[in-house]
Structure formats: C-alpha cells, structure tokens
C-alpha cells in the first residue's frame, strides 16, 4: 500500500473556482476539501460525480477521480460505479435543479441504500440557466420564471430521502462553521447518505428576493426545518448486500446448461409443412408446440415456432405456429398452414381466417365439441371428453392431439416426441401418460 499525506485535494493548477463572488458553492467545495484532508482518503479511491449546472463545474478543482454526467442522472452513474467497485468512495455533487429533474433516481438510490454520498448545493434556483425556479424554491419567492411570486410548494429533500430509505440524512447551511465535520460524517457513513446544504446564488436568487445569510435561517424556521444530522441508520449497503445475496463472486455456480437435441430418429416428412395449434390461455399450447418441434429436431428436421397470445396472458387465445422442414427454414411466417389443430373456442375465433384459407390438400384436426366449421380441408374430429381421466384435463389436449396426429399421419416416430418430453423430467410423468391415453382418440 502506498502511504501518502494529502494537505489538499484541490487541484491548485486549476484554481480559482469559476463561481460568482459570494456564491455558496465556494464554501461547500472548501468544506469538501477540508473533510477529505481530515479523512485522508486515497484520491485514486475517491470518485467525484458531478451533475449539471454551476454545481457541475466542481469536479475540475479536485485531484480525485472525476465523472461529469448528464443533468439529474449523476446518482445513476454513481450507482453503476459503486456496484462495479464497492471499495470506492463515491461522492455526488448535485444542485437543487438536478434533484428535480433526477428526483426519481434520488428516491430509488435512497430506497436501495446504495453507498453513494450526495451533497446537494441547494440555492433555490437554477443558477447556470438564469435563475429559474427549482423544486426547492420557497413559496412566494421571485425567480425568473415566477415573477409574480412562487405558488408551488417547495420539496423537503431531507424528508424525501429519509422516507425513501436513506441511511444517513442531514441538513446544513454553507455558512455553518462545522460544515467540514458534517461533510466528513456523511462520507464516513455506510449506505446512501444525503446532505442538503442551503446556500446563496448571488447572481439570481439573492437579488431577486433581497435574500441573505439571515434569510436562510429565517426560512428554515418558518418551515419548521432543523439542521444537523436528522437520521443515521445501519441498513446494509446495497453493493455489498448484492454480493452477499445475489452474485457471490467469480463464477461460483454454473450457468444452466442448455437443452441439446441430438438427431437420432428417422422422419418421413416430404416438403416443408406448417402447423397451427389454436387453443386458449392456460392450455399449454406453447409447450405442446415446443415438444412437437423438439421431437422434429430429434428426428433430424429443422423447426421454428412462433407463439401468439394477448399481453394479459391468462386470457383469451393462445396460438402456436410450428414449421417443420428437411431444409433450413428461411421465412418463419405461415402464409397458410398445412395442418391446423383447433382445440378451444378462443383459438377457433382467432384462427377462422386461416381455416378459411385451407385447401383440399390440408388437414383440420378439430375438437369434436366445437361448433361446426365450413372448410375445404379434410377434417378429423377428436373427442377428448369420453377419455377417462383426460376428458377434463384440457391442458393436455394439444399434446394428445399432436401424438394422435403423429400416430395417424406420421412425420416422425412417437419415440422422438417421448424423448423430447423426457428432457423435462419435472413434467414428464403426466405428459407421457397423456401421450399414452391419446391412443383412444381413434
């Protein structure tokens, strides 16, 4: 380990600061420097992430690492850095403007309790863009966008951070003598910390409101807000918790192995064929289509499968389109199916247009209890109802219909389908029994 003694963390080559005379940003940065000197952190282990605005110019003046990001998003970059390198001290310098546009990130960083230290340069307006109002502008204040007095309520940043789950919350004014101490405390505390520092924008807020140092204290008092440490909790810090609970270090566990399909069965498919399985939500249409396709691959075929169902997945239709072919399948759309399995009313309704397109060469395998449909295709009606134990288990009918089809019309041997079923042992027992019972479909 390198030993060092830092007398200052300021980059003397870049000094002085660029802020207007009397701007509170001066004192806040001086206090941050004093706190860093007090803590003697390795500058290479400190990242100062700045937001936008006059506040966002600050990182240039420090010899630590620096990250200057987009308006309001500084907390998200800080989160990414801390997640990647939990050992680093990550400091966010953000204005009240940044807290407004990026409020969502502030809430969620506090809620996660990610270990970043947020210092809010709270001057009640947007300095850099010309003194517009911000989420902390007090009632009745005059800003360049509230010429008639501000009628929106200011947001209490500390209360917001607190209720969102921040570990450490404090409020200060840039005039406080003990500001460096409180800054140091913020940095030292684990987890998400926020220090709301009230200060003056001498270019806009001060002249527009004849506002001064004393008015900071008066405003605090009128709003019943206190300074000092408001909360110091010890919830576990997020990047460490993540390593403990979710990602346990380098490659400790193996990723789930893929399901490999070794072709070892014959097939009797002629030209490419497309199949449409039309059912209802919750009737395992997609799984049946996948087993049918996997069986095809085990029999040396190419296969594709597209599923169609509403976004509210437990409602209405569920349709699977499967294509089997001896050659590579380029176009995965189905212009007209060769074989349709129509099993439930929802699927029937959704696929009527395609039934209408079937020709004499095609096959419609249909649940015998569905209403009669007009079609040119050859029709094969299957009655599931009378089959003992399976007549009410609708979620197996698609698989049963496919098994019956393979028996009756071929394509590939039932053994290939059975092998596909056995790839998922947790469901195999019932699926195999359903295939067996499908003999009774005729």
């Amino acid at each position: 380990m390198t030993t060092f003694k830092m007398d200052t963390y300021l980059n003397e080559e870049k000094m002085p600061y660029p802020f207007c005379p009397g701007c509170g940003h001066h004192t806040i940065l001086d206090s941050l420097n004093e706190a860093l000197v007090k803590l003697q952190l390795d500058p290479q282990e400190v990242v100062i992430v700045t937001d936008i605005g006059c506040t966002g110019l600050s990182d240039k003046y420090f010899v630590t690492n620096a990250f200057h990001g987009l308006h309001g998003r500084s907390v998200t970059y800080a989160t990414g850095i801390k997640m990647a390198r939990p050992e680093l001290t990550v400091i966010v310098l953000i204005g009240d403007g940044g807290c407004g546009i990026g409020g969502h990130h502030l809430l969620n960083a506090a809620r996660r309790n990610i270990g970043v230290n947020v210092f809010v340069f709270n001057n009640f307006n947007y300095g850099m863009t010309g003194g517009e109002h911000s989420i902390t502008s007090p009632l009745d204040s005059v800003t360049t966008t509230t010429r008639y007095g501000h009628i929106e309520r200011p947001l209490d940043l500390c209360a917001t951070a607190d209720i969102s789950g921040a570990n450490f919350v404090a409020r200060a004014s840039s005039f406080d003598k003990d500001l460096p101490d409180i800054v140091a405390k913020v940095i030292q505390h684990e987890g998400f910390s926020l220090l709301d520092i009230w200060e003056l924008c001498t270019a806009y807020y001060v002249p527009n409101n004849r506002f001064g140092r004393k008015d900071i204290e008066a405003t605090l008092e009128s709003l019943n807000l206190e300074k000092g440490v408001l909360k110091a909790d010890d919830r576990p810090e997020f990047s460490h918790l993540y390593r403990e609970r979710v990602a346990g270090g380098e490659g400790e566990k193996k990723v789930t192995p893929p399901t490999k399909l070794k072709p070892r069965y014959e097939n009797s498919l002629g030209r490419q064929k497309s199949f449409l399985i039309a059912g209802a939500a919750g009737t395992k249409i997609g799984s049946a289509g996948t087993l049918f396709s996997q069986g095809g691959i085990l029999a040396g075929l190419h296969a594709t499968q597209r599923n169609d169902y509403p976004v509210t997945i437990k409602t209405r239709h569920s349709i699977a389109e499967v294509i089997l072919s001896r050659e590579e399948i380029y176009f995965t759309g189905v212009e007209k199916p060769d074989v349709m399995f129509v099993l439930f009313p929802e699927g029937l309704n959704k696929s009527r247009d395609r039934i209408a397109r079937l020709t004499e060469d095609d096959l419609l395998v249909i649940n015998a209890n569905l209403p009669k449909v007009e079609t040119k295709a050859k029709t094969w009606a299957l009655d599931f109802k009378p089959i003992r134990r399976w007549g009410r288990k609708k979620e197996y009918w698609a698989l049963m219909a496919i098994a019956a089809y393979l028996r009756e019309y071929g394509t590939y041997p039932l053994d290939a389908l059975i092998e596909a079923i056995n790839l998922k042992p947790q469901y195999a027992k019932d699926n195999l029994a359903a295939v067996e019972a499908s003999v009774e479909l005729g």
Binding site: K60, A66, R73, H105, S293, F331
Partner: protein, 373 residues
C-alpha cells in the same frame, strides 16, 4: 449440437460468453426475456444485473459500470431507446464501450408491444444530438443473434462506442433450431487498457482515427470522464481547436474503419438484372424469395446487410454493379431504401417492398412487388 431456442436467449448467452459482467435494463416487450435470462444466469458467473427504475437509470448504471472496468450491455425496445437517447450521446462523447440491444416493435410511441417491426433503423443512427456515428448490427437468425452479440462486444471494445444490436420481435421471440456456439463464433478482444506505472492522459491521440486506451475507476490511474466537450485530459474546454479535434475524432474513428466493420452476405448471380437487398427478419423472406425465383429459372442476386451502420457502401455498390433493379425489403416505409437509393446510379431503379401492419413481409410479396413473380 442443435437446440431449440429463441433469439433473445441466444443474445443473453452470447453476452455471457462475450464476458459481459454487468447488465442493467427495464422491462419492455419484446426485449424483457433478455433481462430475465441474465437476471437468473449472470449472477452465477459473478456478474451484476440491475433492473433500473427506468431506462434512463439503466443506461446510467451501465455507463458508470463500463467506466469502472465492466463489460456492459442493456436491452430495450423503441420506447426505451427514446429514453436512452441523451445517454447514448454521453456514451458517444465519453467513448464508452457498451452493447445496446433494440428488439424492435411496432411504433411510433407505445405502438404495438407484441408486434414486430424494423422502424428504428434510422433512429438508432440519428437518435441523439450531434449526429456522430454509432455501429448497428442486425442479425437474421437465432445463431446470428448469438454471433453478432459477440461481434457487437468486440466492436464496442475496438472502437469505444455504443454498438447496437437491432433485432425485432420475430427474430428475438421465434424459436428456431440453432447450433450454439456455431463454428464461426467470433472472438471478443480484451479491453485495451493503459499500462500501470505510466502517465495516463485519457483522450490523448496520435491521429484522429485512433482509439485511446482506457483505465477504469479504481484502477492504477486517476481518471477523468465527462459529458462535456473536453480536451485530451478530459477537462471541459471551449478551445476551438480542441473541440474540433475531438468531434472529428469521434467521426473518424468509425468512418475511417468502415471496411473493418462492414459485414454483408452477398449471393450474386452472373447476369442477374435484379438485386434483392434486406436485413434482419425480412432478409429471411428475401432469401426464400430469391431461391424461389431461381428455381423458376430467373437470375437474381441477393444481399443481406448485417452491419447497417456505418453503411457498408463498398460492399453494397459491388453487389449493385450491373443490375437494372434493386429491391429493398423492410418492415418500415423505406428507411434503408433511401440509403441504397443514394448509392444507385441514374439508370438503376430502386424499388421498396414495405409492410407496416405488423405482419411479416412474405417471399410472395417480394417476388410480386419486385417484379419477379
């Protein structure tokens, strides 16, 4: 050995095999299953997966992590790319290696979540302020979802730029027989990092098209990184020369390496009067259409474009050489056709085959509208 998986799974596995160790995203159909797969699998390899509070945060996490040494990816669809926009600009400006998957769905706006489209092709190229180049790759099959994910990571390291993988609902969610990893799976290079013990100037360049080496936060150097126009030390600057140099560099590092990035598949036939051009899912219908036309005794050439941006102009011109008619098929109203048009000679007719009702363009539509029926 074959498997039966969809494009999103192939992308997620490609990412893991590429050494991706940080992913952040926000759920959106039809990209969600990439997030789900990685949330389950990546932590097992020590990687980190975060669901951001929105797309803006997800991009922010990725940029922060990438600059701290991680190999990062995010995945979304059109509405999410809209929210990524400002951070895409940041990643271009700061030269952040990252992979962004856009599983395209029907737009504009929320559009149709479960309906495929190829409507983001110009948006991905021009979707952030400034207009500086990015790289966009478009797979046509499940296997290519895997290989082009690897390639995307490799190019992002090579050029320090966001690389988009532009897929679509159909390519991403249609299960297909695929061999993963295929034999031609590309290698992903290691990140070029500045040696410890030597001075490190984050954006020092010998020439404009050079790509500077990186050094992560928490690494051997002190790092500065900024969204603002900067000098080579990454200090915000107003110096006209420095800004000019930076901006020309951001363009030159891509534009002077088009040949290195260029990736097409040309299946050309001597004496063909028609060239079919397509990309992504529609390229599959195009190949089918071309094969059918050839079976019917017609001469026709085919070009599948994998690297949509930067435009592989040389390869496209070569394929167009000598044909009378160029047919561009895509699931939008002509976004890539206009690029092809700009490469055509006065005597060449450029025909668009389009569809924006959510259905796929079929081989028959291409044959009919392309004058090959």
């Amino acid at each position: 050995m074959p498997e039966f998986i969809d494009g999103n799974e192939a992308i997620a596995r490609g990412a893991i095999d590429a050494g991706c160790d940080f992913f952040a995203g926000y759920p959106i159909t039809p990209a969600t299953s990439i997030l789900l797969h990685l949330a389950r699998e990546l932590p097992k390899t020590g990687g980190i997966v975060l669901q951001g509070e929105d797309e803006i945060a997800s991009m922010g996490f990725c940029i922060g992590a990438a600059m701290s040494g991680k190999r990062v990816m995010t995945a979304t669809s059109g509405p999410g790319i809209s929210l990524y926009s400002e951070n895409i600009g940041f990643a271009i400006m700061g030269e952040v290696p990252m992979v962004i998957v856009d599983v395209q769905r029907m737009g504009p706006s929320t559009g149709a979540a479960t309906t495929g489209a190829q409507g983001d092709i110009q948006f991905l190229r021009w979707g952030t302020s400034g207009g500086y180049p990015v790289i966009v790759l478009a797979p046509t099959t499940v296997e290519e979802c895997y290989t082009l994910t690897l390639r995307a990571f490799d190019l992002s390291e090579r050029f320090r730029v966001p690389v988009f993988l532009a897929t679509d609902k159909e390519t991403s969610l249609t299960k297909t027989m695929a061999n993963i990893p295929p034999q031609d799976a590309p290698q992903v290079r290691e990140r070029a990092t500045a040696p410890a013990g030597e001075d490190f100037v984050p954006y020092r360049l010998e020439n404009l098209s050079q790509v500077p080496a990186m050094s992560p936060f928490g690494g051997p150097h002190t790092l500065r990184f900024t969204t603002s126009s900067h000098d080579e030390e990454a200090y915000l600057t107003k110096d006209e020369q420095a800004i000019d140099r930076l901006n020309r560099h951001l363009a030159a590092k891509i534009e002077e390496h088009v040949e290195e990035i260029s990736h097409v598949k040309a299946d050309l036939q001597k004496g063909a009067e028609t060239l079919l051009v397509s990309y992504g899912i529609t390229a599959r219908a195009m190949v089918e259409a071309g094969n059918r036309a050839r079976k019917a005794g017609k001469r026709v050439s085919m070009l599948t474009v994998y690297s949509l941006w930067p435009i592989p102009g040389k390869a496209i011109r070569q394929a167009m050489d000598g044909v009378k008619r160029v047919v561009v098929a895509e699931l939008n109203l002509g976004q890539y056709r206009r690029e092809i048009q700009s490469l055509a000679s006065d005597r060449q007719e450029v025909i668009g085959v389009h569809r924006v009702d959510g259905k796929l363009i079929s081989p028959s539509q291409i044959l009919k509208e392309g004058g090959l029926a």
